[in-house]
Symmetry: C2
C-alpha cells in the first residue's frame, strides 16, 4: 500500500506505525472505522539541497552509464555494426531495450525510467526513434543528443539506415508573424505579452498555440463526431447536423497551458519542458453545443454511478496512429459550461485551434480541451492517454530531475489554481524617474469558475499592496467566471531606487492566493507556476 | 461606479481612462461589448509601511478626538450631567450620536466608521451600550474603555444609570475543562492542539466552540423548523417529523472558523478579533436530511432563476431579538452534501454545537453553518445579517486598522482556501539532539470538497521538502473530500543547529497551495490565515 521511496529514512527515521501513534483512545477506535491510513502513497525523493538542472541530469545519466562500463567514450570507427534484424530482437519485451537513431544503435534500458516522456520511449523499442523525433522535435537538442550518445553500443548497417523522415508538419497552417514561437514542430507559440491585454477576447490569430502533433487538415463537410458507450457508437454526426440538432451556447473562457510561466519557474531551479514565458494563456468566446445534450442524445444517464469520466479523442495522431486524448470527470462534463465548440470569437475555429470541433472545458487546464474532436467516450476510468496518465501532473518539490516519476501517485491536473501575471512592461524595462509612473497591464484567472475578487500590486517586495481596477465579463458572476480578468494601472516609481520589482498577485472567490515564490511549488516538469509575478524595472535618473 | 479611495493617487498618479488604454483596436471594440470595466470597486487604502496595531488605533482615535477640542482630558467632577431623555434625542438619525456606558455619556459620532463591529454600534444610539457589551464581552478591555473615554462628553444623572445587566450567559452549558477558552462570554474555545490529531473525528466534547451569543436552551420536542418562501411559511416541522419524513445522510465534514490561526497572522502585523491559535477547526460525522429535500417539499424549484441564496436563521438572538443569520448560494444549497443535521458523531448534537438542528455546509466556512437552526428562507439576495454583510469578509492588505471598512467591496467568505497546520509539537519545544527525530502531527483541509493531494514538510526554511503520509476518509474521493486529512511523521533534527523551524503546507485537488507568509494575505480582521505553518524547535546538545 505504501510506495515509500528508498530515501524515506534519510528524512523520517525510525518510523513507527502511524496507527499506533493515533490509536491511543477508544474514542478513536469508535470513530475511525471508515477511513484508511496511507490512502495516497508516499511520493519519493530525498531532501536535496541546491540547484539541479538539465545539465546535471545529462551528467548523471552519462556518469551512471560510464560506471556500467559501456562504450560512450569509444571512437565511432571501432563500433560494432548491427543489422536491423538484430536490433529488432531488443523490442519492448526484451531484457535489454535497443533503439536506433540515424546510423546509431543504442541500449536505452537504463534510461527508460528517466525519460521525461515516460514509457512512450518503448514505442520505438527494437526500432528507429527517427519517426518519433520527427514529431517531438524537443529531442533535437545538443543536450539530448549527448544523453543518447552515452548509451551508444554500435552502428547500424549502412543498408538499414532509415531514409530521412518526411516532414509531418509540412501541411501545418500559416501563422501570424507576431506569435512568439517556442517550438516549431509541433507548433507551440505564445501571444506577444505587449499585445495580450489589448483585447478582452484574444483575436484568433494571436491566441497562443499549443500543439502536440501535426495539425490535421480536416474538411468540415467530411468530419464526423461520434459518441461511444459500452453499447457501441450511439451518436454519429456531421458538424452541420450537430449545429442543427442542438441548442447553441456561447461562453467566454480562458485556455491556459499547464506549462505557462515555466521559464519563470526554471529561474528558481531548472525544470524540464518547453520554456513558455507568461503568455501561454488566452481568452476567447466559444460557441457550440452542450456536452450533456450530446450525452443525453446518446442515451447516457450522466447521473449513472458507473460513469465517472468522459474521454475525448482528437484527430491528431502520432506515428503509431494513436490520437491525442484526455478525459474529465463526469461531474464537470454534465455542467452547464462544457461545450463542443465550432466557433471561436464568432467565426469557425481556425485549424490551429481545433477546426472544425473542439471541446471547451471552462475552468480546467488546456490539456483537457481536446482539439479536432472526433470521438467522445464515457467510462468508469480516466483516459489511458499518455497526456492524461504520463504528463500534466505536478509532482512534489521532493521529486527531482533524474528521479523515477511515479505518475500514479499524483492526480491529473484538471481545475487550475489562481494565476496572475504582468504583461507590460517587459522585464528590465528602463524608465525615466521624471515620468513618475509606469503603466502596467496584465491578467488574472482561476480555475473552477472561481472569479477573481481582487488583484494587488506591490513595489516594495510585498510589504505593502494596492488593489487595482479590474476588467471582467459582465455576463459572468464571481461563482461562474470562466473568462479572465484584465487589469491596468499606473504605478508610482518609488523614490531613491535604481531598480525595483513590480509584483502582481490575485485572490479568487474561494480566497485562494498565490505563493510568494516557487519554493513550495517547484516541480520537475515545471507545471502550474503561479507564484507572485515579479517584473524588474530599471530607473534612470 | 468607482468607489475609489482618496489615497488612490498616492500610488497611481495621473491616471488616464482605462478604456482609452485598452480600446486601441477595432478588434477590441468588436469583442468587448459584453463586459464592463470596473465591475468591482477599488478597495481603498494607502501604501502604508510598518506595523499598525490596536494600540496605534487607540492612539489615533484619541488624538483625532483631542484635536476636536472635546473633553477627554477634563476631570470627571467637572463634567456636565445629562438626563436619559436628553441622550435619547441623539439616536441613530440625529446629527450627533450619543451612547451611555454605566454613568458615562459619550458622543461617538466620529468613531462609528472605525467601529470594528461596523454600524452595529447604532443599535445603542441614544441609549446604553451596557446590554450589548454584556453580550459582546470583547469590549470590556482596558484599551476599549480608553477609546470610549476619548469620546466622553458628560455624566449620566445618577437616577438614570442602568442597573447592572443580568448575565445572559448564566444558562450556557458546562464545557470540557480541556478546551482552551479564548473568550468566555460568548463562549469561544479551541481544542487543545496536543489532542486534536488523536481522533479522525473530533469527540464532541473536544470539538472547538465558536458562539456569537448566549447558547439557546431548546427542548427538542418543542423545536420547530420552518421553510419560508415568498408565498409564506410552507414547511413547519418538529425534529421528530423531520427525521421521519426525509431520508437521512451521514457526511464527514470539517468546521473551521474563518479566524483560525489569527494569532499567527497577528504576529506578522496586528489584526482585530479573537486571538485563535491553530485549532479553531474540528472534524465530525454529521447525520441529517438533505437541504434540497426540504426545499423541494416546500415547493421550491432549486433551479428557479429567481432563487439565488438560501438563508438560515438560528435561535440565538441579540438584545434586540435579532437572530444569528447567514446564507449560502443556491448552487451550494442544492448539492448532495448540504444537510440539516441532528446527529454529531452518532449522538444528538450537543447544545454548544446547535442542538437540536444545525445546517452543515461541507466545504464552506463555519460562519455559514448556522446552529440552533429554526428558519430557512429562499431569496434573490444574500442574508442581510450582520454576520453575512459586516463580518467574515477578508479585506485587501491595503486596508489598515482605522480605515473605513467598505464591506460591500469584498464578497462574503464561503468556500475556504487550502489550510494546513502542525498541532504537535508545540512552538519552542525543546528536543534532545540525541533523539535524532521529532514526532509531528497536524491537519490539512481545503474548501469546496477539494481533497488534499499531498502535504509537505521542510526543516530548512522551504528549500527542500518531503511528502508525508496522510490519513483520509475512505468514503470520500479527491473531488468530494469534506473531511480533513491528518498527518503524522518523524522529522529528522538537522545537524549543527541550535534551533530550527518545522514547516508544513498542503496542496489541494485544484493544485491550490498556501502562501509562504502573511505578507500578501494580511487583512485587518485577521481572517483566513493560511500561510505556511512554522513551528520553532529548540535543540539541546
Amino acid at each position: 500500500m505504501l510506495g515509500r521511496g528508498t530515501s524515506f529514512n534519510r528524512f523520517f527515521r525510525h518510523r513507527r506505525q502511524f496507527n499506533k501513534l493515533s490509536g491511543a483512545t477508544s474514542e478513536h477506535q469508535r470513530t475511525n472505522e471508515n477511513h484508511s491510513y496511507y490512502k495516497y502513497a508516499y511520493i519519493g525523493g530525498a531532501a536535496t539541497a541546491g540547484v539541479l538542472g538539465f545539465k546535471h541530469f545529462v551528467k548523471t545519466a552519462k556518469l551512471d552509464h560510464a560506471k556500467d562500463e559501456t562504450m560512450s567514450e569509444k571512437k565511432l570507427e571501432n563500433l560494432q555494426i548491427y543489422k536491423q534484424e538484430e536490433v529488432k530482437k531488443h523490442g519492448k519485451d526484451a531484457d535489454r531495450i535497443w533503439v536506433t537513431y540515424k546510423d546509431g544503435v543504442y541500449d536505452v534500458t537504463d534510461f527508460i525510467a528517466m525519460h521525461p516522456g515516460g514509457d512512450k520511449i518503448l514505442l520505438a523499442a527494437g526500432a528507429a526513434v527517427d519517426p518519433f523525433w520527427a514529431l517531438y522535435s524537443q529531442h533535437k537538442t545538443k543536450e539530448v543528443l549527448e544523453i543518447l550518445e552515452g548509451y551508444r553500443i554500435g552502428k547500424l548497417d549502412v543498408k538499414d539506415v532509415p531514409k530521412p523522415v518526411a516532414d509531418a508538419f509540412s501541411n501545418d497552417p500559416e501563422r501570424h508573424p507576431a506569435l512568439l514561437v517556442r517550438n516549431s514542430k509541433p507548433f507551440n507559440a505564445e501571444t506577444p505579452p505587449s499585445l495580450l491585454t489589448d483585447h478582452f477576447y484574444t483575436p484568433n490569430e494571436l491566441f497562443f498555440v499549443r500543439n502536440h502533433l501535426p495539425v490535421p487538415d480536416i474538411k468540415t463537410e467530411n468530419h464526423r463526431l461520434t459518441v461511444e458507450t459500452i453499447k457501441g457508437k450511439t451518436v454519429d454526426l456531421s458538424v452541420e447536423e450537430l449545429k442543427k440538432k442542438y441548442k447553441s451556447y456561447t461562453i467566454g473562457s480562458v485556455i491556459q497551458c499547464a506549462g505557462n510561466r515555466r521559464a519563470d519557474m526554471n529561474q528558481y531551479k531548472k525544470v524540464q519542458g518547453l520554456m513558455w514565458e507568461g503568455t501561454a494563456i488566452s481568452n476567447a468566446e466559444w460557441t457550440g453545443v452542450r456536452l450533456r445534450d450530446l450525452l443525453a442524445d446518446a442515451g447516457i444517464d450522466v447521473f449513472d454511478d458507473k460513469i465517472k469520466h468522459v474521454h475525448f479523442e482528437g484527430a491528431d495522431v502520432d506515428p503509431t496512429g494513436t490520437p491525442y486524448g484526455a478525459s474529465i470527470p463526469i461531474e464537470k462534463a454534465r455542467g452547464d459550461e462544457v461545450i463542443v465548440a465550432y466557433h471561436m470569437n464568432g467565426v469557425d475555429i481556425p485549424r490551429d485551434h481545433g477546426a472544425p470541433l473542439r471541446v471547451i472545458v471552462p475552468g480546467n487546464v488546456g490539456a483537457r480541451q481536446v482539439k479536432w474532436l472526433r470521438k467522445i467516450i464515457v467510462s468508469e476510468k480516466e483516459s489511458d492517454s499518455h497526456w492524461q496518465q504520463k504528463d500534466y501532473r505536478a509532482f512534489s518539490p521532493a521529486v527531482n530531475i533524474g528521479d523515477e516519476l511515479k505518475w500514479n501517485t499524483v492526480p491529473s491536473i484538471q481545475e487550475y489554481p489562481v494565476q496572475c501575471a504582468i504583461c507590460s512592461p517587459a522585464p528590465n524595462t528602463k524608465v525615466d524617474r521624471g515620468d513618475e509612473t509606469v503603466d502596467i497591464s496584465g491578467y488574472a484567472w482561476s480555475g473552477g469558475g472561481r472569479g477573481i475578487i481582487r488583484i494587488e500590486v506591490s513595489v516594495d517586495g510585498g510589504e505593502t499592496w494596492n488593489s487595482v481596477e479590474m476588467e471582467q465579463e459582465e455576463k459572468q458572476d464571481q461563482e461562474h467566471m470562466y473568462a479572465w480578468t484584465l487589469f491596468k494601472a499606473e504605478v508610482k516609481i518609488p523614490p531613491g531606487v535604481k531598480e525595483f520589482n513590480i509584483i502582481a498577485k490575485a485572490v479568487d472567490r474561494a480566497y485562494n492566493t498565490q505563493p510568494e515564490t516557487a519554493s513550495g511549488i517547484w516541480n520537475v516538469r515545471g507545471l502550474i507556476h503561479n507564484a507572485w509575478h515579479r517584473v524588474p524595472i530599471i530607473v534612470k535618473d
